[in-house]
């Protein structure tokens, strides 16, 4: 497997990133290859991490697949992206008829493009979701009976597995935004640290204060962050 261009760009602009004591993209590529050893029809693997501002990184099977995926229509959300955002393990979409219906319609819409199954696996550390993997299969049975094995390879939480919930490959859309997400995460850390120094708060308190202030003021958080940096630096 190989990183999509935006993941490479994110690494160039804001990397290197550390994942499991290794370079994140190298590790993700290796994991993708190992998953293909278990499920040869796996054509894509995404990793979202809270540590890096919920940035998403994606590797895909080949250049041909990249071109194929580019043709997809994307929708917001997706189980692992959602669970990373909320910090909780969410229920299977299969338990929700409406969601199931929704995903089925997406499945029908994009099946011709090549993604026939997905597997989403949360990363859990001390009871908290720290990230999540999304895997994409070219056939409907790509991941059948392999959840536990794949979860073990990825170091993910097998019991939290969700199937066919991201057939539209939304995680790749998130991965495309990674450079911007990482820039904003870095700027947020800087602004929060400056506010913390200025108002004798913890950095976490300062960050929460910035988020609340943006909501109350009705301004975009990145704009507020840039303004705070300009004023306090």
């Amino acid at each position: 497997m190989e990183p999509i261009p935006e993941s490479t760009q994110a690494d160039q602009l804001y990397g290197p990133f550390v994942f499991e004591n290794a370079d994140l993209l190298e590790r993700l590529t290796t994991l993708g290859d190992r998953v293909r050893g278990i499920s040869p029809d796996c054509v894509g693997l995404s990793l979202s991490l809270r540590e890096h501002g919920e940035a998403t990184f994606t590797v895909v099977a080949s250049g041909a697949d990249v071109a194929l995926f580019d043709a997809f229509q994307y929708v917001e959300g997706g189980p692992c992206v959602d669970s990373v955002s909320t910090g909780t393990v969410i229920a299977h979409h299969g338990d929700d008829p409406l969601s199931e219906e929704s995903w089925t319609s997406f499945a029908a819409a994009i099946s011709a493009a090549g993604i026939a199954s997905t597997l989403s696996l949360p990363l859990v550390n001390h009871g908290e979701v720290t990230g999540g993997f999304n895997l994409y299969g070219a056939t409907s049975t790509t991941f059948d009976d392999r959840h536990d094995t794949i979860a073990e390879v990825l170091g993910a939480w097998a019991e939290g597995a969700v199937t066919n919930a991201d057939l539209s490959f939304t995680s790749r859309d998130a991965a495309r935004r990674a450079p911007q997400v990482l820039r904003e995460a870095t700027r947020m850390s800087l602004a929060a640290a400056l506010v913390a120094q200025d108002q004798e708060l913890t950095v976490a308190q300062a960050e929460e204060k910035l988020r609340m202030a943006a909501v109350h003021a009705g301004v975009a958080l990145p704009s507020l962050v840039d303004g705070v940096i300009d004023v306090l630096s």
């Binding site: 160039q12 995460a185 306090l232």
Partner: protein
């Protein structure tokens, strides 16, 4: 009498930052030339040569200033207090070797002393605000270049922006980041920002992207 000062650096944004620092002391200091990479061409009392984490000697640049008949005195403004480099600079004829940890009022005081003909070297104890001494992070094992990169990260810059300011390749920047992360025990850019700010790598508007500068 005002002291006429030329700010000398090959990086325009650094010069602009120094100029901003001294602007509140316009009664004592007159910045007569913002000199980004071109020779001093007007008479000045002190040329303040700004260098950022220059690991090697900066003799050639300093020597050109010292022999310039328009420059009365030369002071170096630096993080780099390696004894040999300080000695070398003073031997060349530099009258001031000033730490970048100095606040603006101390810089002004030092410039006055240099202008009066005294030799001023920022004392080690005066750099106690810096964790590690000669540059932020030195005590944690950061090289001057690693410290420079972390300080630029602490200003919110991307690797591309850091590469443009340091004239290093992206791969070199990433290599410095990787080794610095290991030394300061962080695993993300956000943590590096917090570490940098907590260790005296204060935000320098002069190194912010130009789009962030006020008009």
């Amino acid at each position: 009498m005002k002291i006429r000062v030329a700010l000398v650096n090959d990086d325009e944004v650094v010069v602009r930052g120094l100029d901003a620092m001294l602007r509140n002391y316009h009664d004592a200091i007159e910045v007569t030339q913002l000199d980004a990479g071109v020779p001093v061409t007007v008479p000045v009392d002190v040329a303040l040569y700004d260098t950022f984490a220059v690991a090697q000697g900066h003799g050639d640049s300093v020597r050109r200033l010292i022999v310039n008949p328009l420059v009365k005195q030369v002071a170096v403004y630096t993080w780099n207090f390696q004894p040999w480099l300080t000695r070398e600079s003073l031997a060349l004829g530099v009258r001031g070797y000033l730490s970048k940890s100095l606040p603006a009022d101390k810089i002004v005081a030092a410039l006055r002393e240099v202008h009066a003909g005294q030799i001023v070297v920022s004392p080690s104890v005066g750099r106690s605000a810096l964790v590690g001494g000669d540059w932020p992070g030195r005590e944690e094992g950061l090289t001057a270049r690693e410290a420079e990169v972390i300080s630029l990260i602490s200003m919110g810059l991307s690797n591309q922006e850091i590469a443009e300011r340091t004239v290093l390749s992206l791969n070199s920047i990433k290599s410095y980041i990787r080794s610095a992360y290991r030394k300061i025990e962080v695993d993300s850019r956000s943590k590096a920002v917090l570490w940098g700010l907590a260790h005296g790598m204060s935000v320098d508007k002069a190194r912010m992207p130009s789009s962030a500068w006020p008009d």
